[in-house]
Symmetry: C2
Subunit: 344 residues, 2 copies
């Protein structure tokens, strides 16, 4: 089959690889209907050292079950399923607590002999725990929004949930990428009263307004902080959803959060330390979030996707076949595409 590999910064190739086969009785084989490129794929695309050996890449996919191992129940050939971006048994103590990203028997796609999602098919370890069956056909118009359950939508939701967003909450979302926009959507869905979106790409912030943003702040740094404070009577917002992962974003986050408030981060941090000294202590600021246990949220979010009351799939503004994947990476790196959908 064909699948995507990354060889180094700016060097993504689609190549022939061995067809996946069942290895463990807990495996399933899934033919990929839709995959996509994640903002976090751009970190290695931007900085990975070049190597002779490529690594499989991609961690978001939705597809059709082709075969299941002897220990997999509840799934059969022909089922349409979505996979969260970390595979997990969904039975260990961490999984039962809703932290499938720390599953004792789980792991990442594209690592340790496990396929990446940006290919024609995937061997899914711990398939019974990992995959969620979808009650749609292979040609459903909902596939893009359902695919977003793999990562971006639950990631935005995790950010909002851990930040304590609920009815009456005021929220700042930092970042107008696909995760930031899904964080807006999630905050709105959870009842936030005011949602200030910090972003400077108008096409994206316009979608953010559609998703529920009440205000958009294009300015960054001190000027951006001043704008958010101005919009909140000088206090900042109860919740700040940091959806970027860079140091200036977390600095902005702690500057615009209200005393007693919560900063949640779901952008993979490209920094080792956080400014969190006396001022944050004096103001009782909480810093939370982390890699989203998407699996924990899929059942909760699914009904609203199926009935169309949320449409997170609108973050996809470009669609490519497998051949188009390298160009898709470049388009996202150049910010000419927000998020690229792949139809293998």
């Amino acid at each position: 089959m064909r699948a995507t590999l990354i060889y180094g910064a700016g060097d993504v190739r689609v190549e022939d690889v061995p067809d996946p086969v069942l290895r463990e009785p807990t495996d399933a084989l899934v033919r990929v209907l839709r995959s996509c490129i994640c903002g976090s794929d751009l970190w290695p695309y931007g900085s990975r050292p070049a190597s002779e050996q490529g690594d499989r890449i991609g961690h978001e996919f939705l597809g059709v079950v082709e075969d299941v191992g002897a220990d997999v129940s509840g799934l059969k050939k022909g089922d349409v399923v979505v996979a969260p971006f970390v595979w997990a048994d969904n039975t260990c103590d961490f999984c039962r607590e809703g932290l499938q990203t720390s599953c004792r028997h789980g792991g990442f796609w594209g690592a340790n002999g496990v396929d990446g999602g940006q290919g024609e098919a995937v061997r899914v370890p711990q398939a019974q725990g990992t995959l969620v069956k979808l009650s749609v056909g292979e040609d459903s118009a909902l596939l893009p929004s359902l695919l977003s359950l793999s990562d971006v939508f639950p990631t935005g939701h995790h950010c909002a949930v851990t930040a304590g967003v609920g009815p009456g909450t005021t929220v700042t979302v930092i970042g107008d990428g696909a995760v930031g926009l899904c964080a807006v959507l999630a905050a709105k869905r959870l009842g936030a009263e005011q949602i200030i979106l910090m972003g400077r790409h108008q096409g994206r912030t316009d979608l953010g307004r559609d998703f529920g943003a009440s205000d958009v702040v294009a300015a960054r740094g001190d000027e951006g902080v001043a704008k958010v404070l101005e919009l909140t009577g000088g206090d900042g917002t109860h919740a700040v959803l940091e959806c970027v992962g860079l140091r200036p974003a977390i600095e902005t986050a702690v500057a615009v959060v209200r005393a007693g408030g919560r900063v949640s981060r779901v952008g993979a941090p490209q920094y080792p330390e956080v400014p969190f000294g006396w001022d944050e202590f004096r103001r009782n600021i909480t810093l939370t979030g982390g890699i989203a246990p998407a699996r924990a949220y899929i059942e909760e979010l699914l009904p609203d996707v199926l009935d169309g009351s949320v449409q997170p799939g609108r973050v996809f503004d470009s669609t490519v076949g497998l051949d188009g994947v390298p160009g898709g990476y470049q388009a996202m790196a150049d910010r000419t595409a927000l998020k690229v959908l792949i139809r293998p």
Copy 2:
């Protein structure tokens, strides 16, 4: 009257100062029955630049109302009262949310013309919101434990509450100072299942065991981390209560917290940044806590103090008069005293 002033590192003096008088109709005058020296007083005692002008110091006291301003209701001459370590109106939006440390009309003792607590009397601003009436006499044997409601006990409680401690929680407490020991007491009171106290002063850790610690780890750094992990099957604890405020303590905290767990800090941070990068992100660690809104917790903790079911006053192992205050600072700095009670 006489009161304590700090002139610089190691230079604490007890001097004659003007008697307090009512200045605002919201003030009360309180004659101090008991005050004490706080671990946080040791920061300026250790490093304050020398100056000609001394500053009033002390933020924990309990006393008798001598006079009240025209706008103060619910308090009268002769009432025994305790003051939280930050004064507040207890009516603004932050106060109503239980964050009296961010009161819009509040402030710190010993600053901006407000008396410190380590003296014979105190003018109490926003007295109606600040002071809590106690149903005991001036000679009650409970005064030390009631005085602890001013700071250390609610601070330990705030640490445990913000860290999410409840029935079944496993907890690590870092630091065997008075706040750390009160954090043990608070965690036990909230139902923690296992409480590991990290400290190396046996007299203190013995009291920690009395307060509810199930394990004591005397080792620090990597060795201490390894011990805690060994005691928790390699996972660390759900909650980590960081009651020190130094960089090595927060480093230990993030190293011994279980995935999905919470680190709360109530030791005033002597560092500007916290190690909080990819590993903490991957494990979904929350960092919380801050300066404790003691006022928010006094009514909740008071009954257990009054009926003797908790005895936080046991952290006082030394009692001095006002003349003994400079020696009390030195004893706490030398760690020959755990916490010094002052009877002016």
